[in-house]
């Protein structure tokens, strides 16, 4: 099991307030919560705000379940880059005697994992992953490429923590841009500035910064520093609970990583296609808003409620 990372006193206190107010509902497992009605109103309010902005791109809307075929995880190299964060799905495989033994051990809360075999499925770690093979299956992209709004699927990260802003399962609102490199780069630049405006419009102190992914191990440190040096990832950070601000949105330029894996090309003389994606962590944004404006959304400033349609 992944090691539990304790929250800071400030994070523990904020989590206790959220639970007391019924905004989050404890499950007994760190980083996994039910959401109360007010929390969901806020989350959906910001989600709708993103949809309104994204409409200008004329995106295609695709919806995927929060599961990924294991094969896709293997193809994109996730287990090389983030083996520590992946969650795979196992299921029972055995006869009646094995089932009885499994139940016997489970009823005593002992280890019953030996009766479980891997399935063909893993939990989706990033909501954009199903988009690339889906678009690749159609053949070459038309000039100008395509924008896909993948909605706000639940995603999983195996990182139990006491920080309410570090959930193991959360909604990642993703939009993906596929097309010529210059098209993709311009789109990412437009959105990273737009995201800062959106968050500031909701009363948050949002700042943009160059960032890196949490790559695994020593080779991961080289990858992370390379990613930063090339400015492939930007994040928008806002204060939640604690001294350091928290990333609530990221803007990622993948270059030819996904187009190479899936053979995605653009029609025309130069077939080179690149991809970029943006992701808003909707729960983190809801938490930042609750921290900033108070635990009762009905008592928030009128301008903020107006922005979120509350």
């Amino acid at each position: 099991m992944a090691e539990f990372r304790a929250g800071t006193p400030e994070q523990d206190e904020f989590l206790a307030q959220l639970l007391d107010a019924g905004l989050l509902i404890a499950s007994g497992v760190p980083g996994v919560f039910g959401r109360g009605e007010d929390f969901e109103r806020v989350r959906r309010g910001f989600d709708a705000r993103i949809s309104a902005e994204a409409a200008a791109d004329g995106p295609e809307h695709l919806v995927f379940p929060p599961l990924l075929p294991k094969r896709q995880l293997e193809e994109i190299g996730y287990l090389k880059n983030f083996p520590h964060l992946a969650g795979t799905i196992f299921a029972f495989d055995g006869d009646e005697a094995a089932a009885a033994e499994q139940e016997e051990r489970a009823s005593r809360h002992e280890d019953w994992s030996e009766f479980q075999d891997p399935t063909d499925l893993v939990l989706t770690p990033a909501a954009c992953y199903p988009v690339y093979p889906a678009v690749a299956a159609r053949g070459k992209l038309a000039p100008g490429g395509v924008t896909v709004d993948a909605g706000g699927s639940y995603v999983f990260r195996n990182e139990p923590s006491g920080d309410p802003a570090r959930l193991q399962m959360f909604h990642q609102r993703e939009i993906v841009r596929l097309g010529e490199p210059e098209t993709v780069i311009a789109w990412r630049e437009k959105w990273r500035n737009l995201a800062v405006e959106l968050l500031r419009g909701a009363g948050l102190e949002a700042e943009l910064d160059v960032a890196s992914d949490p790559f695994f191990g020593r080779s991961g440190r080289l990858l992370a520093r390379s990613q930063k040096a090339q400015e492939l990832k930007f994040e928008v950070l806002v204060p939640i609970a604690g001294e350091e601000p928290t990333a609530v949105a990221s803007f990622n330029y993948h270059q030819d990583h996904f187009t190479g894996v899936y053979g995605i090309e653009v029609e025309g003389d130069d077939p080179t296609a690149h991809t970029a994606c943006l992701g808003f962590g909707l729960e983190r944004i809801a938490l930042a808003l609750l921290r900033k404006h108070g635990l009762d959304p009905d008592a928030w400033p009128g301008a903020v409620k107006g922005e979120l349609g509350l």
């Binding site: 190299g77 090389k80 020593r218 080779s219 440190r221 080289l222 390379s226 040096a229 090339q230």
Partner: protein, 73 residues
């Protein structure tokens, strides 16, 4: 060895010791493969402060890093 791991569009011989390996097609992931191969081959470990893009940008830069590690050990 770099030819085998860097995924270059040209050979190291053509590129020369000072040629930019990234410009010649080495991706970040390929630079990790080069790093791992060098560690295996020379039985050493790049210290944390050397795990950065510049250290692997050319044959000359890699040579300098290896010399520094071997001097220190």
């Amino acid at each position: 060895m770099i030819d085998g791991h860097a995924g270059l569009d040209v050979s190291v011989a053509e590129l020369g010791d000072d040629g930019d390996l990234y410009a010649a097609g080495m991706t970040s992931h390929a630079s990790v493969n080069v790093m791992v191969a060098l560690e295996d081959r020379f039985d050493l470990e790049f210290p944390d402060e050397m795990l950065k893009r510049e250290v692997f940008e050319s044959v000359a830069a890699i040579d300098a890093a290896l010399a520094q590690i071997q001097k220190g050990s």
